[in-house]
Every structure is written in structure tokens, then in C-alpha cells.
């Protein structure tokens, strides 16, 4: 276990409550999506119990939207599960990308942390954590718990209140999520100080995503974009150092 709290004033210590605090800027973005998800799930005919279950054990915005749509359309179970596998497979890359920060832990800890991984928690973690910080696991746990509870509450609130709220209210809030991703992108690039490489990766990734996304499917677009973006980054760095 960790040493006593006398050492917790060290600058590089990242604890549970810091994790909770660092989650706050992202809560608004996920509150609005979770809310929308709750509304759609209720409209598709899912019960409150099912909605609660989904937001607890599935915990993935895009997948939940898709599931609601497919359930409403009467799709077979196999199709729904297969589509969701495809939609969420990008978490494999996200998980691999943060794995170096969470090494040499008891396996159960990594299982616990991994189960809570989302685009958002990934983003905040990759921006905030550096290899030399201590207590990263507690921080991540704080982040995860906050994000997840927020999500569950948002889903249920959406399911309950959704039909009464006029649409215009959502317009501004909807933008909380993209704003969050812009913030995360800028912070990442600022922290890495490799603006030229990063810009090329970002542009390449965006272009591939749009190209594949409109031609084939949005999900394939994202995955291909990540893979090609990563390769672009590697190629540019190699070219610059040769």
C-alpha cells in the first residue's frame, strides 16, 4: 500500500480527489450527451431498469445511441452486438496508449481502471498524467467514478425529463462535447511541444476520417484515422530525425 499522507504534498502526487476535480470540465459535455442518450433510449422503448443497466455496464455514448436506434428498428440481437463491437473497438487503441502509464499494478486494478475507459477519461488522463507521478491509479479511479456517475445520472434524467424540454435549450449544450475535444487537442499539442508533427497528424487524421467516414462508415473512419494518423506521426518523426 502507499506510504502515509505526509508525502501527499509532493507536487507530483495525483490522488483520488484530484482525479475527481480534473473530471469537472468534462462533466458538462457528457451530461448533455448522456441526457440525449436517455431521451432516445426511452423513446426507443427501453425501460428505466434497462436504461440504468445500459448506462452502468455498457457506458458508451455512441454505442448507446446506436443500440437505441437498432432496438427501435427491431434489429436482431446479433446485429446490435456486432455493430457495437465495431463501434467500440477503438478503445483497444486508447487502452494501449495509456497502458504505459499504468504498469506494474496488480491485475485487478488494471481491470478496474480499464473497464471505465472512455474517449473523455482517456483524454483527460493523457493530458494530466506524466510517468513520474505517483498514485496515478487513485487519480484515475477518482476520474472514472465521477465520469461514470455523471453519465448514469444524465441518462436517467434524460429518460425522465426528456420529453418536456423544448429543443432550443439543447443547442448550446450540445456543443460542450466538441468544445471539450478541442480543449483536449490543444492541451495535448501544447504539452508535447511538437506542433509541426502534431498538426500533420491531426490534419491527416481528420482528412482520413472524413474520407473514409463519408465513403464507408463513420466508425471505420475513426479507426482508420487513428491508425493512419499514428503512422503519419511515426513517418514524420523519422523523416525529421534522418
Amino acid at each position: 500500500m502507499h506510504p502515509n499522507s505526509a508525502s501527499s504534498k509532493i507536487r507530483n502526487e495525483a490522488g483520488f480527489w484530484t482525479g475527481v476535480k480534473d473530471c469537472v470540465p468534462t462533466l458538462l459535455g457528457y451530461l448533455s450527451i448522456g441526457f440525449a442518450a436517455g431521451v432516445i433510449e426511452k423513446t426507443a422503448g427501453l425501460t428505466y431498469a434497462e436504461i440504468a443497466l445500459i448506462s452502468i455496464i455498457l457506458y458508451a455514448g455512441s454505442a448507446q445511441f446506436i443500440m437505441a436506434g437498432m432496438v427501435a428498428a427491431g434489429s436482431p440481437i446479433f446485429s446490435v452486438v456486432f455493430t457495437i463491437l465495431f463501434v467500440n473497438i477503438r478503445h483497444l487503441l486508447l487502452s494501449a496508449a495509456i497502458a504505459p502509464l499504468f504498469q506494474n499494478n496488480p491485475t485487478w486494478k488494471n481491470i478496474l481502471l480499464g473497464s471505465e475507459l472512455t474517449d473523455e477519461t482517456f483524454g483527460v488522463a493523457i493530458n494530466r498524467l506524466t510517468a513520474d507521478m505517483t498514485n496515478k491509479e487513485s487519480w484515475m479511479f477518482g476520474l472514472n467514478v465521477t465520469a461514470h456517475l455523471n453519465w448514469i445520472a444524465a441518462n436517467i434524467a434524460g429518460a425522465y425529463i426528456g420529453s418536456w424540454i423544448p429543443d432550443p435549450n439543447k443547442i448550446g449544450l450540445d456543443f460542450a462535447l466538441p468544445s471539450m475535444f478541442v480543449g483536449l487537442l490543444v492541451l495535448q499539442m501544447a504539452a508535447r511541444k511538437k506542433v509541426a508533427v502534431d498538426t500533420m497528424v491531426a490534419v491527416g487524421s481528420a482528412v482520413v476520417c472524413l474520407g473514409v467516414g463519408t465513403a464507408v462508415s463513420g466508425n471505420l473512419g475513426v479507426i482508420t484515422a487513428i491508425l493512419i494518423g499514428g503512422c503519419i506521426g511515426m513517418a514524420v518523426e523519422k523523416w525529421k530525425s534522418d
Binding site: L28, I57, H91, I111, T214, G233
Partner: protein, 99 residues
């Protein structure tokens, strides 16, 4: 169905963290992964900004893209995630009111 969906989502999330717990990846893999965050955010942003139901939204008519600019500026100036989110929301409301 819900359990199935949860399982196929849970596995990709957990497996890498578990498998890579004590294994150190080769340098090239680490370098590849170091670019993943930027690539991910850019892709998700592009998808959100530039497409609507699977079709491209032209740049000139794109109010989301417009609203994004102030948010990005705030991000660069303040390096604050919270500030960026608030700026983005306010910006979007302003853009929606004008167009």
C-alpha cells in the same frame, strides 16, 4: 443483448491494460501510440464538425466550425479545459442566434 454489448465493449477496454501491465512495448510501438491522442481528438472533432448524418457539411455553411474558433482560441490562451468548454457553449449560442 445488453450483456453481449457490454462484453464486447469491455474487452477492448481492458485487455491492453491487462496484457501490457508488465510488458514493455518496443520503441516503435510506443512512438506510434504517442500520436494516438492527437489523432483521436482530431478524428472525433472532424467527424462532429464536418459531417451530418454521414454527409459532409461545406465549410462556408458550417456553424459548428465557426463556433469552434473562439473555443480553440480560448484553449490556446488559457490552457483551461473548463474555460474552453464554456467558451464553446457561449460561442455556439451566439452563432445559433445569428444564423
Amino acid at each position: 443483448m445488453i450483456l453481449g454489448a457490454a462484453l464486447v465493449t469491455w474487452l477492448p477496454r481492458v485487455l491492453p491494460l491487462v496484457l501490457l501491465n508488465r510488458i514493455k512495448l518496443p520503441q516503435w510501438a510506443l512512438r506510434f501510440l504517442s500520436h494516438v491522442p492527437v489523432a483521436v481528438f482530431a478524428a472525433l472533432l472532424a467527424q462532429d464538425m464536418m459531417t451530418s448524418n454521414g454527409q459532409l457539411v461545406p465549410v462556408l455553411h458550417n456553424e459548428k466550425l465557426l463556433a469552434l474558433i473562439p473555443a480553440a482560441v480560448v484553449a490556446v490562451l488559457t490552457r483551461s479545459l473548463l474555460g474552453t468548454v464554456i467558451a464553446g457553449i457561449v460561442s455556439m449560442m451566439a452563432v445559433s442566434a445569428f444564423f
